[in-house]
């Protein structure tokens, strides 16, 4: 059981996190626009998260917190 949380307001929408997730559960939330004007990253199917922190490691903006 692991959990990722995104500070959506800090996300610059670069999408790098989505390229490294081994479970392919990190996506860009095209339904939402944050206050910076970007589609922020988010997670789907949280139960699949293994807490590897790959997404957080490559995030240039410290948007992601990972718990396990």
């Amino acid at each position: 059981m692991a959990r990722v949380t995104f500070r959506a307001d800090r996300c610059k929408g670069c999408g790098l996190c989505t390229t490294v997730c081994p479970k392919k559960i990190v996506i860009m939330d095209t339904e939402t626009i944050n206050e910076k004007g970007f589609h922020p990253a988010t997670v789907i199917e949280m139960e699949k998260c293994i807490g590897c922190a790959m997404c957080a490691t490559i995030c240039p903006d410290c948007v992601i917190k990972v718990e396990r």
Partner: protein, 250 residues
Amino acid sequence: METVFDRPHALSDVVTNFCPGCTHGIITRLVAEVLDELGMEGKAVGVAPVGCSVMAYNFYECDMQEAAHGRAPAVATGIKRVHPENLVFTYQGDGDLAAIGTAETVHAAARSENITIIFVNNAIYGMTGGQMAPTSLVGQVTQTTPYGRKVEDQGYPIRMSEMLSTLEGSAYIERVAVDSVPNIRKAKAAIKKAFQCQLDKKGFSLVEVLSTCPTNWGKSPEEALDWLRENMMPQYPLGVYCDKLSKEGE
């Protein structure tokens, strides 16, 4: 649940001025993570350069000084000579370190100044809008090499790590990249080793980090990582160029 990843304490809770997908943000964070792990935030003094990381004094929780363009190693020298017990580091880009500040860089290494330089090489001037850098590749199109960098006109890119490792004063020099998660982890280990080199009073240490500039390269953040791997890595091979720590430890 246990937190396995969160913002390091030494990294201020502010939004950086870096463009989306620019790997400067990763490198900035890695330095803070290492400060945390070494327990050195309270002892550290950082020097910010002129370039994309000009605002770096806002990004760290430790004491900071802002230097004039290229002069960060001289400023760091002044700080270190006053407070040898402090951990003094600079964070500089390629224009700052390898063009206008080449003399300061070379002589800090030659003196074996006991400071650590984090050298971010993205082969372009980012802050001013994408001009040719001393590390721009042959053929690379920039604002000031619109037909590509030509050897006849602009000469060759400088390999700083190789050049500095010829100096007896250099104690630890490694080139890393932040294009992938494994490489990011290696980059962090290199930064940690460089700081340790300073704490052990071994002398000048520098970590060259190959970084992206999606905005001025005209690529998506993901494409920029590919471009770094395909074009920068052959010109700038990753690896340890100088390591007095391990040698003496053997």
